[in-house]
Amino acid sequence: MFAALLRRDLLLAWRSRADVLVSLTFFIIVACLFPFGVGSDKELLIRIGPGVLWVAALLSVLLSLNRLFAQDYADGTLEQWLLSDTPAPLWVAAKILAHWISTGLPLVLISPLLAVLYELPAEWLPTLAVSLLLGTPILALLGAVGAALTLGVRAGGVLIALLVLPLFVPVLIFGAGAVQAVADGTGATPWLLLLGAGDLAALSLAPLACAAALRLAVESG
């Protein structure tokens, strides 16, 4: 079931590549806007680069969140899954994983390229990519709870930002902190370990909360 759903969602994402590209393009555009705003001073860009890229990735994840359950909610698929005997947190986790692979992973892969635009030193790039690799799943998991809570709610798109952005702050701090630590020469390992711990905590709790919220949405809708 887990694998089947994962394959289905990935296939759906592949068929509607344009949607996936939108959030990736959004990431790139936001990252490219900053030099226009703050000027192209090289040292300044190096200093704000890691933080800007992290914020851009975070916003891009946020933007894609309301697509996570909307389609399946609208056509009743979600209800069928809830009625099936597969434990809800399991298939919810599969959906989140598929969502992350189609929206989060591209961000990770393209981030070194954007880092070059900011002229970040080459030795920062692995840390940036790894911090995004560890951080974006947390964003997707926490965001999924927000997406499930606001499913079918009017003004859901704005609401979800209000709900999840405060919860995203620690991830942003740890992620950008990891790159900053490399820049300061203090070593990124503790920050990356914190992100890993966040992954495990979010993975164990978010699907449960998400499943409860989905059940609620389906029952009352």
Partner: protein, 264 residues
Amino acid sequence: MNEHRSPAPQDTPQLTGWRRFASPALCYRLAGHFIRPCTKLAIVLTLAGLYLGFFVAPTDAVQGEVYRIIFIHVPTAWMSMFIYLIMAFWAVVGLVMKTRVSFMLMRALAPTGAIFCFLALWTGALWGRPTWGSYWVWDARLTSQLLLMFLYLGFIALTHSIEDLRRADFAGAILALVGALNVPVIYFSVKWWSTLHQGASVSLSKAPSMATTMLVAMLLVALAAWAYTIAVSMVRLRHIILMRERRSTWVRALLDAQEQKETA
């Protein structure tokens, strides 16, 4: 075949022991008993605490008179954090026991928490200007207080934008719970973040130990904040109960009795 039939379903199941407080009707009456005494207590304690703080407590050696804002700032900040925990507590009770009144109480508390949070930020900014030279410093405490404000706003926005009451209650409870789990993570991450970025430029914890009158004044205002919170949330709870139970017989009877009293 009919021997073992269960007793006929009653209008409302009879609850015994402490569970009977789950009844909205009983809660409505109980909440009514709290309002007047707590309002009076809040007024008296505020006046006493502020008098002690503003006129009796000695002037601070370092900051002068401006430190006196602490008598409003610290109690509101404490209260804003307590209220979120209390909300999370009622969220858990509601999710476990499936009691509607718990959710109503949770929702009744949220606006008060948000107001205290706002007051703490506002007074903090006013205090920061003369002492630190700026209204806002990206210090760990200020930043986590700001994030707490966003958590409150998110909770209120979510519960108000879902029309189905049951879903609004449960969704709010899930959010309150997720938020409460995140509060320590937010606090520590922000703390590490601020030490990483600016060192210890602003240290509140190194303040000299307080004079007893200051402490007493602050505690009095803090107690006043508790009394105010109880009074206001009980008023709000009663409104919520009336609104939701407006079709039940006991609310009809209550309103009829009130109408008669007014016409008499």
